[in-house]
């Protein structure tokens, strides 16, 4: 489980991705829940990074669940054409729903 803040840089994302990738092994995790509640904007950069992260998680044999995307952010992502770039990644309303979903997967 990780909570993402809006202003992560390229380097921060790389580090998060590497950390998650190794932690999946240590914790034998089946799901990674990313909390995006604090993201006030999801632009193409953030979308691409999330997609890359989800691909890494998939190759490590776990599933990514995105939670907490805010209403306005969801609408902006769709208008920019970003939403379909996250196709195939699970989503849930909030952390609670996301953890339920993760339980159900395990």
């Amino acid at each position: 489980m990780a909570s993402i803040q809006s202003a992560l840089t390229d380097a921060d994302w790389m580090k998060l991705s590497a950390d998650l990738s190794s932690q999946i092994g240590e914790l034998r995790a089946r799901a990674v829940v990313l909390d995006l509640t604090l993201m006030d904007v999801m632009d193409s950069f953030a979308t691409r990074v999330l997609r890359t992260l989800a691909q890494t998680v998939t190759l490590r044999g776990a599933q990514t669940i995105l939670v907490g995307i805010q209403p306005d952010v969801a609408i902006a992502m769709v208008q920019l054409g970003l939403a379909q770039r996250l196709d195939g990644i699970l989503t849930a309303l909030n952390l609670e729903h996301g953890l339920d979903m993760a339980e159900a997967l395990v």
Binding site: T9, V41, D43, S44, F45, D72, Q79, L82
Partner: protein, 134 residues
């Protein structure tokens, strides 16, 4: 049409956040809905990131604009970078020379009320768009 400017220099990734926060603040003052504030902030983020990624440095200008009682914001992202060799191609969904998603320019055009791209090879690029309160 009256104008007042706000200038955000773009020198690094951190400035992208400053530019979009400035845009959101101005939009809130002018009475943009919270959805439209987010649309505007996202578009600014796309353009400012292009400046950092493709030109290194540049600036974002934010202006409050008005025609009669109609109020809005004009955003310009400008740089003295390499310019764009095929602007028509750059406007297409999915086209990117930076291994990115290629949705920044076409996406911004989609959500803006008005959009222009002026680019000269070897001299730089200026992208300008407007959004009106609705």
């Amino acid at each position: 049409m009256s104008q007042e400017y706000q200038r955000v220099p773009i020198k690094s990734e951190a400035d992208i956040v400053l530019a979009r926060q400035g845009g959101r603040r101005l939009a809130a003052e002018l009475g943009f809905s919270s959805t439209d504030q987010t649309l505007l902030a996202t578009a600014i983020s796309e353009l400012a990131r292009n400046v950092v990624q493709y030109a290194g440095t540049g600036e974002v200008l934010l202006s409050a604009i008005a025609i009669g009682s109609r109020r809005g914001i004009q955003v310009s992202a400008m740089d003295q970078g390499p310019g764009i060799s095929d602007p028509e191609l750059a406007m297409r969904d999915g086209y990117s020379t930076g291994g990115s998603l290629g949705l920044g320019l076409p996406g911004t055009r989609r959500l803006a009320d008005d959009f222009s791209l002026v680019t000269v090879l070897g001299e730089g690029t200026t992208v300008t768009f407007k959004m009106w309160v609705r």
